[in-house]
Symmetry: C2
Subunit: 439 residues, 2 copies
């Protein structure tokens, strides 16, 4: 294998010059592009066989994974990584089980590629339809969790795409071990192993060189914090799936039922506060606030949620439940923690305006028994997932029925919201004629 590939250690990579890094990344891009051509026309059964062979290889390689992961964990401890980061880095048996289950799940999904839809007959007899095709080569740039290596590779393969994976340097040994097993699975299924490329160069300049592979890489998906995403967007002309942050709202409407309002709000905020689809702001209709806010606040407080409330909420709560005053910044915050901004709004319109002004186009829900107001909320809120009487936590590819998720787009171009295998494809026009020419 060549420099910069999965076989190259970080020691070797540390000595690479800028032009060597550029050459290594270009070689990866060229190999991936070539592999993408054969992948595009690979029958579904072969892709699914490869996915199951990848799962078997991971299963057989558990000892390798443990050993290589331990090297990363040791280096992480030596470098003083925080416990939360070490935890994300750890390939526990449970995480490995999930990786294997994920590969089988993706194998079981329907193949999006090749389906022809919307076939219509034109007046001149031409039959025109759209056929789903892969995008080509997907670049994934991600941070600490090494299980992303398997999840992302599986979805890209399912959709007929080659993938270039660039994980965090702190997980390099784990990522290499996973990629090596995945490629062994491809070989077992007689699929070109070049379909899965891991960038073995730890140097950060490798990311920049990956971002310069215009014409070889068709889409870049950064998975990580806001700074990573901004860095990617500002340093490439390749299309990027952008997912900046999730400032999600639960809006308790005038006509909300108390039990649903409490369950949905508490679940949205407290069930898993560290993720992007957790509720960050609770909006309550003014006419419902005296009836519902004290009960909502108490339930949230009992789950350990700190409340940052508007003046009107504070007056209603009085001394019944601890709270502090919300600042303007609190309404824009992605707390990712047991903290909730709370605001009373004068109307459904005011709730929609608040979401438009402070939201992040991620996910919003309305709790209401009013058909008309539910429909208005669904239509008028422009976020990528809009729910009625359900927790914001459902904004997730698996929960929404995509089978798996490669990321969440909060910009509307190409895909909007959770993205599964289908969102890693495009459609071309196919035309069945019998000699038609234009007049």
């Amino acid at each position: 294998m060549t420099v910069g590939r999965t076989s190259t250690g970080p020691a070797a990579a540390a000595h690479l010059g800028a032009s060597e890094i550029a050459a290594a990344l270009r070689a990866i891009g060229v190999e991936a592009k070539a592999a993408s051509r054969s992948l595009a026309i690979l029958p579904s059964a072969r892709k699914d066989r490869a996915l199951r062979a990848m799962a078997a290889a991971i299963e057989a390689g558990r000892a390798d994974l443990r050993r290589e992961n331990e090297r990363d964990l040791e280096a992480g401890r030596a470098a003083g990584l925080e416990p939360a980061l070490l935890d994300r880095l750890r390939l526990s048996e449970r995480v490995v089980d999930q990786m294997i289950a994920g590969l089988h799940q993706v194998a079981a999904l329907a193949d999006p590629v090749g389906a022809i839809s919307e076939l219509q007959v034109r007046p001149n007899g031409l039959r025109v339809g759209k056929m789903r095709i892969p995008l080509g080569v997907i670049g994934i740039i991600y941070e600490s969790r090494p299980n992303v290596t398997a999840d992302a590779a599986a979805l890209c393969l399912k959709a007929g795409n080659a993938v270039i994976l660039r994980g965090g340097s702190e997980a390099i040994h784990s990522n290499r071990a996973i990629a090596t097993l995945l490629r062994a699975g491809l070989v077992d299924a007689a699929v070109d192993p070049a379909a899965i490329q891991l960038v073995g160069v730890v140097d950060r300049r490798a990311v920049l060189e990956l971002l310069r592979l215009e014409g070889l890489v068709d889409l870049v998906i950064p998975r990580g914090g806001e700074s990573l995403i901004r860095f990617v967007v500002e340093n490439t002309r390749i299309p990027v799936i952008q997912h900046y942050k999730g400032v999600c709202h639960t809006y308790v409407d005038r006509d909300a039922e108390a039990a649903k309002a409490v369950a949905i709000t508490v679940n949205g905020k407290a069930q898993r506060p560290s993720v992007c689809n957790a509720t960050e702001t609770l909006l309550v209709h003014r006419e419902a606030a005296p009836r519902l806010l004290p009960e909502l606040a108490l339930a949230l407080h009992e789950r350990g949620v700190e409340l940052r409330v508007c003046a009107e909420s504070a007056a209603l709560l009085g001394g019944s439940v601890p709270h502090r005053e919300a600042t303007e910044d609190d309404y824009r915050a992605e707390f990712l923690d047991l903290i909730l901004a709370v605001r009373v709004v004068a109307s459904l319109d005011a709730a929609i305006e608040h979401i438009q002004r402070y939201g992040s186009d991620h996910t919003e829900t309305i709790v209401t028994e009013s058909y008309t107001r539910a429909m208005r909320f669904l239509r008028e809120v422009g976020s990528s997932t809009v729910l009625v009487n359900a927790s914001t936590r459902f904004a997730d590819g698996y929960e929404l029925g995509l089978g798996a998720e490669i990321g969440i787009s909060t910009t509307k171009l190409h895909a909007y919201g959770p993205m599964g295998a289908r969102e890693l494809t495009a459609e071309k026009f196919v035309v069945f004629g019998d000699g038609q020419i234009r007049d």
Copy 2:
């Protein structure tokens, strides 16, 4: 009205400094963004009424259009514009008729916005679907033909988007006159006239400032030559619909019928050679070449087509039909003229390889009576429009049943191939619950 808007003459614009141009464009962007919010939820009937009112305004304003167009034509003649460019600039009665008919046609199309598709019921009872929504604000940057002003505005409005139009400086009076009439139509239908913005600043720096309106403009569509498209791509972080060029292929297969092969090839090349879906290269299967190539060459020659052929073709043609030797460059050329590159290929695979290597992902057709080979060509050729036994000239939004066309994308992200109103929309997830929370 403010500086830089439709009311501002080129004389005034010529005196604007860089910061004034930037401020003028930002003001246009802010107005368009605000208008896009109300447009997004405008009922279909109101949009269609506006489109018909725009058509009526153009009809009533024919004299204005003639006068303002004459100013552009005079300036163009004085500046020594070529006859072909003057011709594209001219708003003849026929072109105005087409603009009016186009507005009525777009009014008659189905509204893509609001439709919910793929509704599925999840095991927990959640009903999950996708609702089509507008993109927001579309920026269109185009060259001489002023009728694009009406066509583009109509499609953007149909899909619920605000539009910012930036036409060529040589058509500024015509474009202003058209935009003024279109906005009058919006007012007649009680739709916010800010939905249609024309950049009145002739200075080229205005294009750069338009390209900097990230966050206000959601998509940029350049319509024009390769240099315009490269300029746009290299100067913006806003997503761009890229349509570089059309190097379209007609492939006459081993099993082609002679009459179809001749009709489709001649139509593809000669019916309108100046457009992007005209055939630029003819590929002929080696086993069909002795039977079909002389007949094909003669028919093309009789239509005035210059043939640039490979050595094998030359040997087959001998002295029967005039031809010259093709260079490597000829296989990459978008002639847009009565010139055709011709090459004999050894197999279907070789034809597909040639297309992959020299093509532009625009449009390719196969002429064949073989079911299996037709299906292989359809599946394996990755271009945005792939046809069987039909002329490449059908790669056009209207011919493919989109009702109208805003452009053709030759990159796969967001849209691929001819784009109609639906391609100016996105889809958000909508979820109907009755109290569901996550475990």
